[in-house]
Point group: D2
Chain length 141, copies 4
């Protein structure tokens, strides 16, 4: 699913410089920080399609996370410049799945892979069908 | 202001075990984490007085932070058990200031001191006088 | 794997009060925070067995995370008191898997489930067999 | 000290997009996150002078924080694009003080101001005089 050869299109490549505050006393990026990176990259993916996720929420649709997964392949360290590649690899009527590949910007070394599964809900938190405009937005290259 | 001899009453002593995720690659608790600790201790201070801060908000009063300060005296490390001493040392008609002293639970060694200055606002974010019941609550030993 | 009926023994029940800093603008605990909670609970699990994880590291053994997973069942909110149930459900020669179930302390409502897969490495970061004393420690009720 | 008219030179302007994970249930950026932003901006300030702070540490000099202060003028929200202006406004033989002004990128509205006071220590954590090359580096426009 997350191999380079099959990475879905469209995709977004989000660059990020590792800060001190993201590391832990083992000297590497703390494992929970990867979910923050996934979120930043996911937001950027949507923004690049033409509308911010903030605007999607204003229109009454929310994409809360139902499941998150991360595989840690190699550590990232303070000051490393990394790239989070993001795409969508699965849809259902009322859910969408983003996948992520993080690598070191300079060496290209793979650092982690992961996915997040999202429901689509309205302002009341009730699951709803993903509206066509939102689906079009997120699949627009 | 933050010397032991003059620490205001009532006070709360909040215990906290340092987690891995709070440390950074220098091997010590990251400096922003102290503000999280202040918040936890402040919430506990209010709860010990008889009402949670969540309930205060439900009643329509909010205490957003206008200023925060922290002095770092000695580092805390992973797995250290620390104590956050909390009290209120200043009031105005529409603001309140909490002070904090963090020390190592076992050695008593001082680790940091700080304060947070809070406005009192209503649901619309407008500054309001701190109601008497809230002031009574927070000064109740 | 994470149903109550089959939760492995020994287990640890770690209580946690949700802080403001753990929530996000949707009004609920941010999804990455669950990995922090897993870590806190895991540390407590090991400590309850008789030795802190900090001490395990001093003895030259480290348990870096290779994989993390979390399923979000219901949101937790500011000031909620929650319980993280933790146990170990799988071993290999050089890895161990912790599982977690988070629920609301008062209502018992399930909030999330998850797991973390850990390698065992030495000071040089090389995978090593989990020493018998460490395995005994972590399986000691 | 932190008025625009007297902001010290050289300076760095670090842009940052507010993420979901930085907000809290009041709908705004959580107060501790500003210290993370200060750190990111400070690192960028040093990098722009010609050497990363990571490299400074490799050369045996560390700048741990002794004091941090932040004044919160107006809230930042999810998806806001903000700018952190950073400079150095005070030196002693063995310490340096960074100041920060955060504003909204689009409106220019001031959001916060702050400072961090740093010691200079060697690998053993002992205070040392800031070496001339480091002082030259950080004052180089």
């Amino acid at each position: 699913m997350t191999t380079t050869s099959t990475f879905p299109s469209p995709e977004c490549r989000y660059e990020h410089r590792v800060s001190y505050g993201e590391t832990d006393c083992m000297g590497v990026v703390y494992y929970a920080e990867y979910l923050h990176l996934f979120e930043r990259a996911r937001s950027e993916f949507i923004r690049e399609r033409g509308m911010s996720y903030a605007r999607v929420e204003e229109k009454g649709f929310f994409l809360p996370i139902r499941e998150a997964h991360c595989r840690y392949l190699a550590p990232a360290r303070y000051d490393d410049l990394i790239v989070v590649r993001t795409g969508i690899d699965a849809w259902t009527r009322a859910s969408v799945r983003f996948i992520y590949e993080i690598s070191d910007k300079n060496s290209g070394k793979p650092l982690s892979t992961g996915f997040t599964q999202h429901a689509c809900v309205n302002r009341d938190g009730r699951p709803v069908r993903i509206p066509q405009w939102l689906r079009d937005l997120m699949t627009d290259a």
